[in-house]
Symmetry: C2
Subunit: 235 residues, 2 copies
């Protein structure tokens, strides 16, 4: 829903830094943080292959990495975005919150909360000219709905993430205001699907997007969706 997590911000800043021709240090916020803070751990980028990735997922990943070589596509890094990383960006939220400290200390990004291979394995690529994101997604065994198939909520989650990122890169920090999903066919558990999102139009401050979820060979249309994203003015 909200695209304004630390990880998304970090991704956006990294992309902007690259485009503006910043120095290697300045364009890498993780590196900068390491130099100028007492924090010693570099957050792990989860949008990279691990042993749980199937052959299909690795093959698609390699194909898109090839597309990245001429700069038309970019791979978006992805982090767990724990609360304990103390993002100053959301200070206003925390001040209003009545959450128990103990619970918050365990907080982590929904889509990155599983061990490798069990939950959401994915990587998102972005094409700036086409205003398009492509998410390569392998849904693990902990995302089951009907036995053998992905839960509809897990599909909705990845659609939300892909659509949201497609608006967040050109539009900054946004919130999903509407998500309208047509589920056409159930997705087999542990299979790979390709989620394709397109920015269709911008009206004032509203971003309108569309999205499809297809099999790797593109022959099966599993789901299609539309999304509306709004800038988060309270931040």
């Amino acid at each position: 829903m909200l695209r304004s997590c630390t990880a998304a911000l970090r991704t956006l800043r990294a992309l902007r830094g690259r485009r503006e021709g910043a120095s290697p240090a300045a364009r890498d916020p993780v590196l900068v943080r390491r130099w100028f803070s007492t924090e010693k751990v570099i957050p792990k980028d989860y949008a990279l292959p691990n042993p749980s990735w199937s052959k299909d997922l690795r093959l698609l990943f390699d194909q898109f990495m090839k597309k990245c070589e001429d700069g038309s596509w970019e791979r978006l890094p992805s982090y767990k975005s724990k609360y304990t990383q103390k993002s100053e960006d959301f200070k206003t939220y925390f001040l209003d919150s009545k959450l128990v400290k103990e619970q918050l200390s365990q907080a982590q990004l929904f889509t990155r909360g599983y061990e490798d291979g069990l939950g959401f394995e994915y990587v998102i690529f972005y094409n700036d000219d086409e205003k398009r994101t492509v998410c390569l997604f392998q849904g693990g065994p902990y995302l089951q709905g009907v036995p053998g198939f992905l839960h509809g909520g897990a599909i909705a989650t990845m659609i939300d993430a892909t659509v949201g990122m497609c608006a967040a890169i050109p539009g900054g920090i946004v919130m999903t205001a509407n998500l309208n999903i047509n589920f056409k066919r159930p997705i087999p558990l542990c299979s790979v699907v390709v989620i394709n999102s397109q920015l269709d139009k911008i009206e004032g401050r509203k971003f309108f997007l569309s999205c499809t979820v297809r099999s790797v060979d593109e022959k099966i249309l599993y789901s299609e969706a539309t999304g509306k994203e709004l800038p988060l003015s309270i931040l």
Copy 2:
């Protein structure tokens, strides 16, 4: 998305058994399974309080359990629905599937895959006369989107579960064909919300439902949604 998991079937059968005045053994499929199979473990019902439940959630739970006393409301049990429970109901799916056995052996219901308190803590109640489900939901720290708030996908997941169950009890095994969600305000992590779903109309084989997500005091409308559910004819 698909409401046809083992857990849902077990719930439906348990409810039908009660209504038809079956014997204690016949109306408890878990007990029957234990008597007539080599399987010795009784699946745990997760739709019951555990130490992670907040005061708000426990209070609401107690209020609804009180409503259950006159039979107008019923608490729906909820299980992990592991593949290893060998549900015969979905044999057709498994025969067509090319999934790796090792992965399937780890499969579990998306909404019950977390340790107590970390993910989806919820219980669904059903009112047959009003054709209505109410889900009491506490979203744990592993469901984070923007720091301090629930991920939109986690909200979509619980809306899907609540709407789907509202159609599944009168309609049998159903699949969510459409889910249209308006996200109005972000939901604080670890807070409790009440998801209210209503069966609005039935047209032929289609079930049309509406849904709201509100704060415990009902003052804040976090999200509203509509859903369309279809019977799963292939089973």
